[in-house]
């Protein structure tokens, strides 16, 4: 009877900063089983939306996630506007896209650093997070905050973009684009990096379809899913997005997709700044949101974000359902890790860009024979040393 080790990695993550729970069963070095138990960041937000007014919920929902705050608020605002029969003015929709793409940039750079850290590549973490400060400065100058931009109102946006801000953003994007070329070179040619990512965690297009993955995780397997393209919302019909696809479906592809998407986001930001339509920032919303149901889908940095909103014609929503992209992609991690070495688990997990506050988890690997428990730090170190 082979020994089975199940290793726990506690809710306290030095690297990922977020709590959660996976359980991996290990046979020697090979992962033979995986399950997930979330709940450490579960706050009860969907229920809370029913006790707050439509406007208050905007401020609540943009705090589901500190990394993709704007896209949550955008999905909600678009949905409520649709229920109310209101269309935000073109300039507002364009500013929503602008902030959304700037958010994607900060998110992908953040992920690049965290993923590098998981691989033991501290230098890349430091460089990418230093460079990320450029987009943080741009977001702060434009919106007034580094995180939780609160750009949206029901009916439009809160602030305008003037030429000074636009020029500063363009300069920042120029700098980031030159840095991103270095990152692309790195994730496609650095042998040490590729040893930990090439051929690891391979997910075919068919598997991606079956597992229901979304976002860059799906696009890395050649599955062309991108809500900005499939169901263009806000101003995306006027500023079309070129979809980024890779075919190999391994970890390396997931890195390449996100880095290449940065270039597309830089292009979009420039295009929007150059083509900002004139006009108002807000359309008038009725006092009460009429009865009805609507579905709002947007492309968060991690993939499709799905909102179902139901109004009973009252001052508070009847139901706000939020399905975040990480919930879709989490299921794939459980399947992908099976058959892989334990050393690959941290990278496979980070490869789907898990947003823990959108969903939460810890990783647990238990040693059935000795009762020994590993920490996440130990698993991460194990991965780094295995590839040395």
């Amino acid at each position: 009877m082979p020994e089975r080790f199940v290793i726990p990695i506690g809710p306290q993550h030095p690297a990922l900063k977020e709590p959660g729970h996976f359980e991996f069963t290990v046979d020697g070095e090979t992962v033979t089983g995986a399950s997930a138990r979330l709940g450490y960041a579960h706050r009860g937000i969907e229920k809370a939306t029913e006790a707050r007014t439509w406007v208050q919920d905007l401020y609540l929902l943009e705090r589901i996630c500190g990394i993709c705050s704007h896209v949550h608020a955008t999905a909600y605002a678009l949905g409520v506007e649709r229920l109310a029969g209101v269309t935000a003015p073109p300039r507002a929709q364009a500013i929503r896209v602008l902030v959304g793409e700037m958010e994607r940039v900060h998110s992908h750079l953040l992920w690049l650093g965290v993923a590098a850290h998981e691989a033991g590549f501290e230098t890349l973490f430091m460089y990418s997070w230093r460079d990320r400060e450029t987009i943080m400065d741009s977001l702060e100058a434009l919106t007034g905050n580094r995180v939780n931009y609160s750009a949206n109102l029901l009916g439009g946006v809160k602030f305008d973009v003037d030429t000074g801000q636009a020029d500063a953003i363009r300069r920042g994007i120029d700098f980031l684009e030159s840095r991103t070329r270095i990152y692309l070179d790195l994730v496609t040619t650095d042998e040490v990096f590729l040893r930990r990512t090439r051929g690891i965690g391979v997910m075919t297009a068919a598997q991606a379809e079956t597992l229901g993955v979304v976002g860059p995780t799906a696009r890395a397997s050649g599955v062309a899913r991108d809500i900005r393209v499939d169901a263009a919302y806000a101003a995306y019909p006027d500023f079309p997005v070129g979809i980024t696809l890779e075919q190999t479906g391994d970890l390396a592809a997931r890195f390449v997709v996100r880095v290449k998407e940065l270039f597309e986001s830089y292009r979009l930001i420039r295009t929007v700044l150059d083509g900002l339509p004139a006009g108002d920032l807000v359309a008038k919303m009725p006092r009460h949101v009429p009865e009805g149901e609507t579905i709002s889908r947007v492309e968060a940095p991690r993939g499709e974000l799905f909102y179902f909103i139901r109004s009973g014609g009252r001052s508070r929503p009847d139901r706000v359902k939020v399905r975040t992209p990480t919930l879709c992609n989490m299921a794939s991690v459980l399947t992908l890790t099976i058959g892989h070495q334990l050393a690959d688990v941290p990278m496979i997990l980070v490869g789907v860009d898990p947003c823990f506050s959108c969903n939460d988890r810890t990783v647990v690997i238990r040693d059935a024979a000795t009762g020994q428990r590993w920490t996440w730090a130990r698993l991460r170190q194990h991965g780094i040393e295995a590839y040395r």
Binding site: A36, G39, H42, G44, G212, A231, F306, R310, L327
Partner: protein, 157 residues
């Protein structure tokens, strides 16, 4: 295929089990399906490779004494939602994981939040609610009020 054509195709696929299709928004079709026909309708969409399961939404309809479960399938911009009404006293529904394995997380969430018994779901363990959450308390049901079971103060007025 454009959105309207995709919706028509899906409506035809599930027509045998859901003849009454509702068109609540331009890109959406809602189809009411009986509990016993759910698997057949889901299977038909899968066999025809129409879209992917994007989410499962639970609703509590206290005035009707019913729960409603919505299965949202997306193909491009087109969304087809299969809607199943369940009496609260018999809130059981078959699992669709045999057809769509990735539905597992959605079914777990549905079960713990609404008290729907998803029959045959491969993993019925709690997903989001804490270990010490009381049995039989379903937070997204309308009769549950926060502040009773857990901490937290009053929301801002």
């Amino acid at each position: 295929m454009n959105t309207e054509a995709a919706l028509e195709r899906a409506t035809a696929i599930v027509a045998a089990w859901g003849p009454a299709a509702d068109h609540p928004e331009p890109a959406r079709v809602d189809v009411a399906v009986a509990r016993d026909d759910l698997l057949a309708a889901v299977g038909a969409l899968r066999t025809a490779s129409w879209g992917y399961l994007s989410a499962i939404t639970g609703l509590d309809l206290p005035s009707r004494g019913e729960l409603e479960v919505l299965y949202h399938f997306c193909e491009g911009a087109a969304i087809v939602t299969l809607r199943v009404r369940l009496p609260k006293g018999d809130a059981a529904i078959p699992s669709i994981c045999g057809v769509i394995p990735s539905a597992s997380f959605f079914e777990r969430e549905l079960g713990e939040m609404f008290g729907v018994t998803v029959v045959g779901t491969p993993d019925a363990a709690r997903l989001f609610l804490p270990d010490d959450w009381p049995e039989g308390v379903y937070p997204l049901r309308k009769d549950f009020t926060p502040g009773g079971a857990a901490g937290g103060g009053e929301p801002h007025a």
